[in-house]
Amino acid sequence: MTGRVSLPVICLGILGFGILYVPMTVMILFSFNAGKLVSVWSGFSTKWYASLLTNEQVLNAFGLSLFIAFWAATIATFFGMMIAIAFVRFGNFRGRLALSSLSSAPLVMPEVVTGLSLLLLFIGMESVLGWPAGRGVDTIIIAHATFGMCFAAVVIQARLRDFDRDIEDAAFDLGGRQPFVFFSVTLPVILPAVIAAWLLAFTLSFDDLVIASFVSGPGSSTLPVVVFSKVRLGVTPEINALASIMVGIVAASVIGGAFLMRRRLLKSDHD
């Protein structure tokens, strides 16, 4: 640790981390509760996890969420990269203010507003163009990609700003041209940020409840929607188990990702 931080600050810090972690720790604990309550321990059991594995509704929703999140993240990263490049490289281009406003407003817009407005748009489009026919997977993907690209743009932009332009100049100097230089030199170097942006968009999509509730249709219930409807009925260890699994997956990927980064850094230092 460090002597640069005073004790009261550290105490407050620990308290803060506690607030962040205590609820989930208790939740995970009670997902193994033999009894039906989430507050009184009746013994250890994994029966709730077992019942989840046979719960078709949950399994379908899980698969659906993964599918939607994957495509939403991919579209979001693609567009986000375009936005980032424009902001960092194109100087004061025509439409900069417009693009800047439109790509930063979704970051702070309340989800109920985004969700409602998108639904109204889809209905309007359907009556005029015939597409999208009903709400379903594609409307959710569009909705998630839209706010996802704004987050992705922020992440990629930050990395692009720190990028050493001389490397690109060297590539040009040695006979390279766009877009080849972008794909052979720029993109590989900023790749970690691009991946981070994709993961961020993926998570935001996978976890989204409000917007999915507005723009989904019959048969396209995502996992958070399913969880929410269950929660409405009451708190049970089964939901704890589901939540624990979701948390576990995320935790595993984040920690795994962090480890991979560390190993890559250490490995290159040793060679």
Partner: protein, 312 residues
């Protein structure tokens, strides 16, 4: 110095650049701006039993051009203002104090993380980001299990004999604040951390060397220098918090009614889409000033970073 402007011009051509800008711009205009305009439109119509459940704003029929333009929905909001403006005020108040509480916890946490040595800092950052990557719905759900009358905390306290009957923690301002902190703390910490980690140690040492006490150093040097992070984090928390739905829905009672929940209820329960649209517009109206302010701050950083003036 636009040293790469001419470069790209020659290499990719102005058209390539225009395309790169146009594509996301069109997408966002179509799927972000247009929906908001559509919402505005719907807020001027009346509800009716049809699919969709609102009357078209304008159209042509046998009699020619007709319109269903009405301000009824906004009038409704004004008339029953306790049901609508009240929650609006509540939303602002709850969001404001939530931001404050977040700040109180986030500031020392960000300081701790920023001032730790590299290894410890990496661990703390991952620890801090982990909840952020998990669904906020789940975090709030976990909180319910903790705060309910028959939840974990009450069960513990009763079991320990400290209390006889459960204390009420759910459906209070307290549960809302807890939920907000759980949801938004990482968002507040990140901008603070970003500013703090760039803070030059020497500046603090200089202040101490010139006779400032710990509190003095903080007040006169650290706070002003971290203020941009404070503002950025606060806006990042306050604005979405005003429109929060899940937290008041799951943790709040009738006294903690917030705009997000009101909109949801109007839409899903009452099936009154025009009123819901009007509420959305009201929410936007409330948030216009903070959003523009946040944009202005963003724009300043943007311009400084991407378009430094003068030749290099």
């Amino acid at each position: 110095m636009p040293r790469h402007l001419l470069m790209l011009n020659r290499i990719t051509g102005a058209n390539g650049r225009r395309l790169l800008v146009a594509v996301p711009l069109i997408w966002l205009a179509l799927f972000f701006l247009l929906p908001l305009l559509k919402t505005l439109q719907v807020s001027f119509t009346t509800a009716q039993r049809s699919v969709p459940p609102y009357a078209p704003l304008w159209g042509f029929d046998d009699t020619g051009f007709f319109t269903n333009f009405t301000l009824d929905n906004y009038q409704l909001l004004a008339t029953y203002w306790q049901d609508y403006i009240g929650p609006a005020g509540n939303s602002i108040k709850l969001a404001f104090f939530s931001t404050l509480v977040c700040l109180i916890f986030a500031y020392p946490m960000a300081w701790w993380i920023a001032r730790s040595n590299a290894a410890w800092r990496a661990v703390l950052l991952v620890l801090m980001m982990l909840p952020f990557w998990t669904s906020s719905l789940l975090r709030i759900y976990a909180l319910i299990g903790l705060l309910s009358p028959n939840g974990f905390i009450n069960a513990m306290l009763i079991w320990l004999g400290i209390i006889d009957t459960p204390i009420r923690m759910m459906q209070t301002d307290f549960s809302i604040y807890m939920g907000m902190v759980l949801t938004y703390l990482p968002l507040m910490i990140l901008p603070l951390y970003a500013v703090m980690v760039r803070l030059d140690d020497d500046v603090i040492e200089a202040a101490t060397d010139l006779g400032a006490s710990s509190v003095g150093v903080w007040w006169t040097v650290i706070l002003p220098l971290t203020l941009p992070g404070v503002i950025a984090g606060s806006l990042l928390v306050f604005i979405p918090a005003v429109g929060e739905f899940v937290i008041p829905a799951l943790l709040g009672g009738p006294d903690q009614l917030m705009m997000g929940k009101v909109l949801w209820t109007e839409f899903f329960r009452n099936r009154d889409w025009p009123v819901a649209a009007a509420i959305a517009m009201l929410l936007l109206a409330i948030l216009t000033v903070p959003i523009i302010y946040a944009r202005y701050q963003d724009g300043r950083d943007d311009r400084d970073a991407d378009m430094p003036t003068g030749a290099s």
